[in-house]
């Protein structure tokens, strides 16, 4: 798949007064920040503080109870319908299809995502980089949790997104996998926006800015 095809340093995320309630129980309140290209943000907080919830809101797959997130590209606001072309997302609760092979997963999902931008070379390159090319024709159900996590990275990077959101980026990964994630993180910091939701101090240290979420930590 070809890259997004625009100048990466023109991306901007602006979150204004974000609040989220679940069944009237507040998760976090009034979170405001802005991120421009080549910047990175670590979202930290206790278990249940709302790190994953905030990540989902920033990825555009969940609505905040109050507040808004705006995304701009080359001084033009990105429509919410178009957001999926600009965001890559990895998290432990994101699953790929067990009944399909690794290669089929990437091909099928990229066909749904951007049918006109199929690129088998990019798919092969990514499967190679996550060390799964040899296992490309095996069903995902036969993969270990670490291999599934690496496949999620290939899925997130398929469309070369300018915004990459990683929730617990190193979960289930061995040392080699963590090194791979660090290389992804370094690449992303050089070309776009990186957001990491984590409790791990080392992972939080990858980012230049930090935000602590949780209703008690306002």
């Amino acid at each position: 798949m070809e890259g997004s095809g625009y100048s990466m340093n023109q991306v901007l995320i602006k979150a204004a007064n974000l609040s989220k309630d679940f069944n009237r129980r507040p998760v976090f309140r009034d979170i405001t920040f802005s991120l421009s290209a080549l910047s990175s943000l670590a979202i930290t907080g206790k278990n249940g503080a709302g790190k994953s919830t905030l990540s989902k809101i920033l990825a555009g797959v969940m609505s905040p109870t109050r507040g808004s997130v705006t995304y701009r590209l080359n001084d033009k606001q990105i429509d919410i319908e178009e957001l999926k072309h600009h965001i890559g997302f990895v998290s432990p609760y994101l699953n790929l299809y067990d009944e399909f092979t690794a290669l089929e997963n990437l091909q099928i999902l990229s066909k749904i995502h951007a049918p006109t931008r199929q690129n088998d070379v990019r798919t092969k390159e990514l499967l190679n980089s996550v060390n799964l090319w040899q296992r490309r024709d095996d069903p995902v159900s036969t993969f270990s949790s670490g291999m599934k996590q690496r496949l999620k990275y290939a899925f997130a990077l398929l469309h070369d997104p300018p915004i990459l959101i990683l929730d617990e980026p190193s979960s289930n990964l061995d040392e080699e996998g963590i090194e791979f994630v660090q290389s992804i993180v370094e690449q992303q910091k050089r070309k776009g926006i990186l957001i990491v939701a984590t409790n791990n101090q080392q992972e939080a240290g990858w980012c230049s800015q930090k935000i602590h979420v949780g209703i008690m930590s306002k």
């Binding site: 997302f89 009944e99 049918p115």
Partner: protein
């Protein structure tokens, strides 16, 4: 045009997934066979009249559809792939992809029930094929459009299995009444022009329900 290609890819994904996992297909076919067998045993050789046969025809389709169509979203939710779809497809692409898949599944199911009824009940003779074919096609589309939205709603609920027929029934009453009447007409051999009014109701029902479901789906899908 991109959206149409995405919808096509979405349907292809669901068909491929269904052929590999048989998540809904096996359950639906077994349900059809057991329901029709139960009716045959209950009748003990009696030959029911056309109205009763038409009613039972759609009762089997209703309960079988309720048993299988909810899987389209429940399976995504159970496997944790809902988020994956949210990341790659817009709500419209997901809705129409799932609607087309469910329509195909309901049509397949209706065809299987028709085949069994023709074989098992000697009085189930389709005299007006045009009325019957249009009724089954529009009825299946109506079932699928109601079922797709309700499936998305219940996939987020805790009591998935029981909630589905309960929520669907009030929405499907107008459809059930109309398709039962039209099926009777097709067995009686009425002229197509005599039942045009019923078909107008059916077409309006399908259009209104599909448009309404599409508008509501965005809210159901995102949170």
């Amino acid at each position: 045009m991109n959206s149409i290609a995405s919808i096509r890819a979405m349907v292809a994904k669901d068909v491929k997934s269904e052929l590999r996992t048989r998540y809904a297909l096996n359950a639906l076919l077994m349900f059809v066979v057991t329901s029709v067998a139960t009716i045959v045993f209950a009748l003990r050789g009696d030959e029911p009249n056309i109205e009763i046969l038409s009613g039972m025809f759609w009762v089997v389709i209703f309960f079988t559809a309720m048993a299988g169509l909810s899987r389209i979203f429940v399976s995504e939710e159970e496997r944790g792939t809902t988020l994956t779809l949210q990341l790659v497809a817009s709500p419209s692409v997901v809705y129409f992809g799932k609607l087309i898949f469910n329509s195909g599944l309901t049509l397949l199911l209706s065809s299987a029930v028709t085949l069994l009824y023709v074989v098992v009940f000697p009085t189930f003779v389709i005299k007006s094929m045009s009325i019957f074919a249009c009724t089954v096609i529009l009825g299946s589309l109506g079932f699928a459009s109601a079922a797709t939205l309700i499936a998305a709603i219940i996939s987020k609920a805790n009591t998935k299995g029981t909630l589905y027929p309960v929520l669907s029934f009030p929405i499907l009453i107008p459809l059930l009444m109309t398709v039962m009447k039209l099926t009777s007409s097709s067995l009686e051999g009425n002229l197509f022009t005599a039942v045009l009014g019923e078909f107008q109701i059916l077409v309006s029902y399908v259009l209104v329900l599909t448009a309404g479901s599409h508008l509501l789906f965005d809210h159901v899908w995102k949170d």
